[in-house]
Every structure is written in structure tokens, then in C-alpha cells.
Symmetry: C2
């Protein structure tokens, strides 16, 4: 399909998404699997509102099963119709480099989330393939999503014998972990990848820097079949996040000035081992500014650990704790219920596209 | 106006653009004032096709008057209707840090280009204001455009007593000179700036990473009143560019891998003095790779100057010459007449928006 036709037909009655996620509404809005922050309540609120929510990896691999169990309980408590069969209407995200394939496979087999979002392998496509094969075997029909950020990764995914169902194309604007040194803005990255994988049959989700109806409409115009958002959902009632952190996401603006991609906060938190091709974007604070000013890591670590005891004061411009957030943080002005948000953003995007289409 | 209404109403019959540029068609497509590359024939071809072409700065300030004189001659040779009055239907771009206000003012007064695009002041908004005031006095009614890349610059422009008519919002994807260390992808940058300057009355042009109908449609969805493109027009028949350079723009793909923001090529070319807040994106070649590998600047300079004598072979993966281009280089697959291109891209963008709007 040529790019124009692809863009024109994208998201028309959600296309192939509806086959797998019958509750989903157009435009397709996905809640990204943010580590710890995207818990059962957030994911379910997004799906209940016609989107698709993902649970993020937990602090340890075993947390995934715990979270999926909570989803199942929450569904039992409500009478909301979801299908098909015994599939849970939420997806689950895995970070491959520090994940555990055995427990992931077991969790997927036992709880049957409708989709699995794979990211950050230590060994590239080969590791993506290993996980994909194992999860599909454990839960036939599970929708497999691969998150990538470069043209090369997209080609590897398209050519793989274990090709994913969905490619999540993440621009440099994104918060949390993304490409460290070879990222590109979605405006240029997305269409080039779309052209490269045009005949693969994969659905394409745009991610990075999208936080309102304008970004959603723009992503659809680029040819996306839907969008994933992270930062916007950090500022939701259901996010599993400290108030001090959340307040800072709401407060921060001008992300080019107020955020940076750096491993510093990973190191301060004691997180080591991320493969070097990824680094996280976060809102900068005293840890970063003092690091820039030449204060030693040991001293920064001492001050960081002290700040960690101060509760919500640990975040903010005078704080020192990691505050991962994306380039769209300046578009987030308040905390809202995720379900209300999904519904509103979908309406905003539709209104923009209807307005532009009728000119 | 709220962001949704703004996005919905953007470019509706070109809004205020039509008042100043009566030939312009929707969606508004602007040819960026690329230094040297954007000459009289390129600018005029774009305007003649219902866009708005800008002439870039020349190798020296006096070249602007020479180029404007050529535009006037070309118009005399044709019977194409343009208005209004004795205004030339093309704009002219100035780099302020190495520009010459006196000769710029004289050229604008004598030739009356319809618009002036100001970029890269050494002294921020104050210098933008000085130029704006002088050009408006010399040519009353001239449309003044300011190119910016940060939220802070947009606020300064909006609050200025010499507020421009148009703000060109340039994302990190852009080729040539843009923000060196505090850029952001358009997807997040544009809407945040649009919100900041909502009540200023300035029209907003999106620039950076846009090279086809998808990018144009996406920019309109973000709320842009039009788009500016540079890299796409490097690969036009009328661009004032060497064939070796142009071939490389057509060849290159995967800009996150194949381009870099670096001052290296400026230095190799003997261009010094760019204010440090800007640096250029270009397609990398042997100069860059050997620089990365630790070859001394003096040696690179010798090899570069030798390559400069080799004609079109000076560009390409085995070449050494500066090849400024943007993140959308992977969307450019051939050289086309600029007028044909403008018309085609406008149609593609409309088709995408009509398709999405009717869902």
C-alpha cells in the first residue's frame, strides 16, 4: 500500500485491532507499559474506556503475575463485558535485558493477557524472537508487540521469522528509556519506517511526545494505526506513582530545557546493566545540575539517598530523585482519571481530523 | 483560541496568509531560505506553484540584492500574475549573526520581497527586534518571520514590541543549523509552543523533518498554519546545489544513523563564529568517521581540501565535504521540479486529511 493510502486508511474502524481487541475504539489509544507506574488499575481503566492498557514490568519479574492476578480480581468484581474468551483485556510489557523468560511465559500462560510488549533485548532481534516464540507457544493468539526506535530494528523485525503483530515506533521525544545516541523525532522517523515495513502486515503504533488530541491526530496523519502514551498517564489518578513525582510531571514545561537523556539517575538508584543503546529521559533536578557542575558521583549518591528519605520533597526542582518523563511533559497540566482522559483525547483527535478533513 | 479549535481552523482557506500572499494555496507550503541552495529560481518555482519560496542568504550579504534582481528579471520575462503591487512574490532569509543589516534593509527597500525570515541572532530577541524594526520601516507591510527552536524564544517573540507576523517553529529533526543542545522533536515542541503563544496573533509554521504529504498533514494536525521544507527542496531541479551533494541527499536514509549535528564541517569549510546555541545537521561521511576515530583536525582539513578539488566525488559515503541535510532525508527518493513537487505534496496532504476526516 502506498504511504498516502496507508495514512488515509489507518485507524478506519481500527482495522485489525478490532479482531484482537473487540472493545477498542478509534483512534486507538494505548497506555504504555511503564515500569512499576503502569499497574493493574491504570491498564484496566484505559481498556475500559476503549483504549488498550498495558501493565509495565514490576520491580522484579515475579511482580507481573501478581499484577495480572489483580487484573483478574478487578474484572471479577465488575460486570464489564470484555472478550474474547478468558483473555484479559490488558497487555503486559517486558524489559528483556533484565527480564525472566521463564516466569514471563508462565504468567502469560496462566493469566492470558491479550498482548505482550517486548522491549530492550540485550541481544537484538534474536532475543526478541526467542521471547516471541515462547510467549506465542504458551498463549496461542497472544498479540506480540515489539518496541523499536531505529530504521534498522524495524527492518530486522519485518524480516524475522517471528515477526511481531505490532511495531511500536518510538521517537526521540519519548520519556523513560529510548535510543541513547541514535534517536530521531517521530515526524521524520515514523514515515520512513512505515515505508520500510509497508508489506510486512505489522500494525504500527507511534510513541514519544504524544500527550493530547493534536499529537494523536498528527500520528494518524503520519500513517500510524494508533498511538501509545506514557507521560500523559503518569498524571492519571490510577498511576502507581508518588505524589511528588506526579506533581513534577504536571509542573514541568519546556522539555528541551527541563529534561535530559542520561544514565545518571539509573546509577543513583542503583540500576546498572541497561544495554548501552538505551538511556532514559527524565526531568532534571539538583542531582543533574550538580553532576554538570562537577560534584562527584559518591557525593551525589549520598545526597540522593538522603533525599529519598524525604518523601514527596525528593522530587521537584530542589529534589534529587529520578523523574523519568517525556518531551510532552509541557502538555500535561493536571491529574485526571485515565478513563476520562482516553475518552476526551479520542474525541479531541477526532474533532481535529474532522475539522481538517472538511476544509 | 483553544488548541483543538486552533488545529481545526488552521489553514482553512489559508487564513491570514492569503491577505499577504494572495496566490498561496492550502495547505501552505514554504520553501525554507537555505543558504546559497535556495536561489531565485527555486523560490520562484515554489511561489508559482501556490507555495511561498524564500531565497536564502548568499555567500556574502551583497548576494541578496543580486538574487532579488534575478527574481525581478524572471518575473518580467513571464506573464504570471502576482500581487500585490510591486511586491516580489518571494521571501528572503537572513542569518543575523553574520548578516549586514544595512545592506539587508537596502535590498528589502529596493526590491520589496513579500517577507523576510530572520534567524540566528547573536544577541537574541533584541537583535531580532532591531532587524524587524528596520525592515518594516524600509518596506512597510513586509511580513516578518522569526525562526525559533525553543519555548523560551517563542515567548520572547510573542512578548516583543516588534513581534513577528510568523513564528517558524523548528524541530530537532531539521537539517542545516538548528538548536545545538536544547532541541526537541516537533511532535512535542510544536503544540507546547502553540499553547504558549496562542493569543499573540502570530501565524505558526512547522519546520524540521517534513518532506512529504504525511508530514504536512501531521503538522496541520498539530495546529500549524503551514509547513516549511528544506531538505525536500535540496532534491529539486532548481536548487543551487552540486550534483554530488544532491545525489547524496537522494541516496541517504535512516537519518538517525546517517546524519549528525556537529560543527566539524563548518570548521572544515572555514566557517567560524556561529553562536554556540546552534549547530548544523548533515549527512556524515569520511570526515566525520575519521574525526570520530581520532584523526587530527589539521589532517582532516588537508584531506577535506583535497576532496574539494574532486568535484562531485567530494560527497557521498566516501566523500569528505559538508552535506547539510535533515532527518527527512530518508523520505527523499528523487530529484523533481519544485513546482510539481509543491503541487503533488499539497494534494497528498489534502488526500490524507480528507481520508482521516471522513472516518
Amino acid at each position: 500500500m502506498n504511504p498516502i493510502r496507508r495514512a488515509m486508511s489507518s485507524s478506519r474502524d481500527c482495522g485489525l485491532f478490532t479482531d484482537h481487541f473487540p472493545w477498542i475504539q478509534s483512534p486507538v489509544i494505548v497506555g504504555a507499559p511503564m515500569r512499576v507506574f503502569s499497574g493493574p488499575r491504570l491498564a484496566l481503566a484505559i481498556s475500559r474506556s476503549g483504549g488498550l492498557g498495558f501493565i509495565g514490568p514490576g520491580a522484579k519479574p515475579a511482580d507481573t503475575a501478581t499484577d495480572l492476578d489483580i487484573v483478574r480480581e478487578l474484572l471479577r468484581e465488575s460486570s464489564a463485558p470484555f472478550g474474547p474468551g478468558d483473555t484479559l483485556p490488558i497487555g503486559v510489557g517486558f524489559q528483556l535485558w533484565n527480564g525472566d523468560l521463564q516466569s514471563a511465559t508462565q504468567a502469560v500462560k496462566q493469566y492470558r493477557p491479550c498482548a505482550a510488549w517486548l522491549f530492550a533485548p540485550r541481544n537484538g532481534q534474536e532475543e526478541m524472537d526467542e521471547w516471541t516464540e515462547s510467549l506465542r507457544k504458551a498463549s496461542p493468539g497472544i498479540h506480540i508487540w515489539h518496541q523499536i526506535g531505529t530504521v534498522r530494528e524495524s527492518i530486522e523485525a519485518a524480516e524475522s521469522a517471528h515477526r511481531p503483530d505490532v511495531l511500536v515506533i518510538q521517537g526521540i521525544e519519548a520519556g523513560g528509556h529510548g535510543r541513547a545516541n541514535d534517536g530521531m523525532g517521530l515526524m521524520a522517523l515514523f514515515p520512513e519506517i512505515a515505508d520500510q515495513v509497508r508489506n510486512s502486515g505489522m500494525l504500527l503504533i507511534a510513541a514519544g511526545g504524544i500527550a493530547d488530541g493534536r499529537g494523536i491526530a498528527a500520528a494518524l496523519a503520519l500513517g500510524a494505526d494508533g498511538v501509545a502514551m506514557g507521560t500523559r498517564f503518569l498524571a492519571s489518578t490510577e498511576a502507581r506513582i508518588s505524589k511528588g513525582y506526579q506533581d513534577e510531571v504536571v509542573r514541568a514545561s519546556d522539555a528541551a530545557q527541563s529534561t535530559a537523556r542520561t544514565q545518571l539517575y539509573n546509577r543513583l538508584r542503583g540500576t546498572f546493566g541497561w544495554p548501552e543503546q538505551w538511556s532514559p529521559r527524565g526531568i532534571v533536578n539538583k542531582s543533574w545540575h550538580e553532576h554538570q557542575a562537577g560534584v562527584s558521583f559518591d557525593e551525589l549518591k549520598t545526597r540522593h539517598d538522603e533525599a529519598a528519605k524525604s518523601g514527596d520533597d525528593g522530587w521537584g526542582p530542589e529534589g534529587r530523585l529520578a523523574t523519568y518523563a517525556g518531551g510532552a511533559t509541557g502538555l500535561v497540566h493536571g491529574v485526571e482519571d485515565a478513563g476520562v482522559l482516553v475518552s476526551k483525547l479520542r474525541g479531541d483527535a477526532r474533532a481535529i481530523l474532522n475539522g481538517l478533513g472538511s476544509q
